[in-house]
């Protein structure tokens, strides 16, 4: 599985006098079993970028290849691409519409043209994967709590068994425990199923904790693309474009500035804790 962006640009409302370039000359490759975080402030082009991945938006310049095939080819089946590249939008619970959770989750696989038995199986698997309580399968999706609605909606996309799963701000509006639960579930799924995950997020802390690769978007272009510690080492530049590295990064740099030899590449609390404890364990405060 591979998804390749080849010099992709996208301009909104061409020819109306209100043209805005939302993406300019983006080239990147997404491979198997990756866990990618896309960060950028509002309007940086990150949502536009991910909507190209499943063909919901069509690039005005450049090409996109999925498994070597040009997705803008006349004969290419975009509907099939959308089941391969699953997309969970921001506040996905706003798309629920069926009379029961179970029926709603079946919507995707049913659109894939699978037989009813397979559809049911897929829906069951997907709801189990998101740890949705089994005794609520038949409840109306409108009677659930916020966190449960979110799970049901994510299951609706998972049921199509996408090879790439894109999640646009999956934790928006949830409380801290809810955030941890959703991110933990996504991470578990990545580890067990092994599908590629693309996580669009505002939260540096979340991204630092879970992903292996970060793509930073700024003004429609890719500013950085690398591991969390590589990307966060540019913390001063990140701040200039209205983003910030995790608090931990700042602390480690400030400690290093005061002459304490800690690992400035630490981006998560565990890493920082290890590094600081290792030093002070030897010297004491």
């Amino acid at each position: 599985m591979s998804l390749i962006f080849d010099h992709v640009s996208y301009t909104y409302s061409i020819g109306s006098g209100y043209e805005t370039k939302a993406l300019s000359d983006v080239s990147l490759k997404i491979g198997e079993r990756e866990f990618i975080g896309i960060i950028g402030h509002t309007g940086s082009g990150k949502s536009t970028l991910v909507q190209h991945m499943n063909g919901l938006l069509k690039a005005t310049e450049g090409k996109i290849y999925y498994n070597g095939e040009d997705i803008y080819d006349k004969d290419y089946d975009l509907k099939d691409l959308r089941t391969q590249v699953g997309m969970v939008f921001q506040y996905p619970e706003h798309q629920l519409f069926e009379t029961s959770v179970f029926e709603d989750v079946k919507f995707g696989p049913r659109n894939q043209g699978l037989d009813e038995q397979e559809v049911t199986l897929r829906a069951y698997e997907a709801l189990t994967k998101v740890k949705f309580p089994e005794d609520r399968f038949d409840q109306s999706p409108f009677d659930l709590s916020g966190g449960q609605k979110r799970r049901a909606a994510i299951a609706g996309v998972l049921a199509m068994k996408p090879a790439i799963l894109i999640l646009d701000e999956p934790t928006a509006g949830l409380d801290p425990k809810g955030r941890d639960e959703i991110l933990g579930m996504i991470s578990d799924m990545h580890n067990t199923v092994g599908n590629t995950i693309v996580l669009v997020s505002h939260s540096m802390e979340d991204v630092a904790e879970y992903v292996d690769r970060i793509i930073v978007m700024d003004e429609g272009s890719v500013l950085y693309d690398g591991t969390p510690s590589e990307v966060f080492s540019h913390y001063k530049k990140l701040e200039e474009i209205g983003l910030a590295a995790p608090e931990v990064t700042y602390l480690m740099h400030e400690l290093a500035d005061r002459g304490i030899p800690v690992d400035v590449n630490a981006t998560t609390i565990e890493e920082a804790c290890e590094s600081i404890a290792a030093y002070y364990g030897r010297t004491g405060i």
Partner: protein, 272 residues
Amino acid sequence: MMREITIGQYYPAKSVIHSLDPRVKLFGTLMYIIALFIANSVSGFVFMTIVLSGIIIMSKVPFGYMVKGLKAIVVLLVVAGLFNLFLTPGIPVFTFWKFSISMAGIRGAALMVFRMIYLIIGTSIMSLTTTPNQLTDGLEKSMRPLSAIGVPVHEIAMMMSIALRFIPILTEETDKIMKAQMARGADFDSGGIIRKAKALVPLLVPLFVSAFRRANDLALAMEARCYNGGEGRTKMKPLSYETRDGIAYLIILIAFIGIIAVEIFRKKIGFI
């Protein structure tokens, strides 16, 4: 695609038209619509074109922005045009298979299409140059006499202004839900009418749910800001006529007499 609909969206600019009292604009729009139906000839439409161009130039709203609103009704225009073209009886000037087109048909179709385009552009200038609040203030004040017979004028005006404010929000929302369902394999384009109507369920249910949620939120927010009906309310920008509004009324009347005169004169000398 839903974003293209510009009808009803205010375009901020500093122009004479923007600064007119909304009641003048309401009156002007009404007279303009009547005039469009009086105009029934090439001469009449030449006159209306001059009037409309004048207003467009004075409004300082880019022409491209207004025309964008037309895209949404292209299909309607084509259908209406074709109906007129083929179904108007008269001496055929052009025939093929079972269809024939008469001179009267061509004339009728052309008038119909022009009338609709002018109608949309003309009325959209009203909403493009008037904020919804001004518009509803204008309506509320012009219709005030009706409240004596129990018409809830203030409530209607408030509802209209809120509806106008939420049109862009709900169109954006429609776009978003549509994309979300397309990402789940929904197909809004293919199939017959029944299949297409069925395909709309996953779009309409979430849209209604969201509209109700927003309505509920908004009602709370209005109550929290001491909204208590129309009684005892004051205005930040109360409507009051200025000299320019008087002049505008005069110009509207002159233009209206103008179109009647053009039509009568044309008929007399038998011009097109």
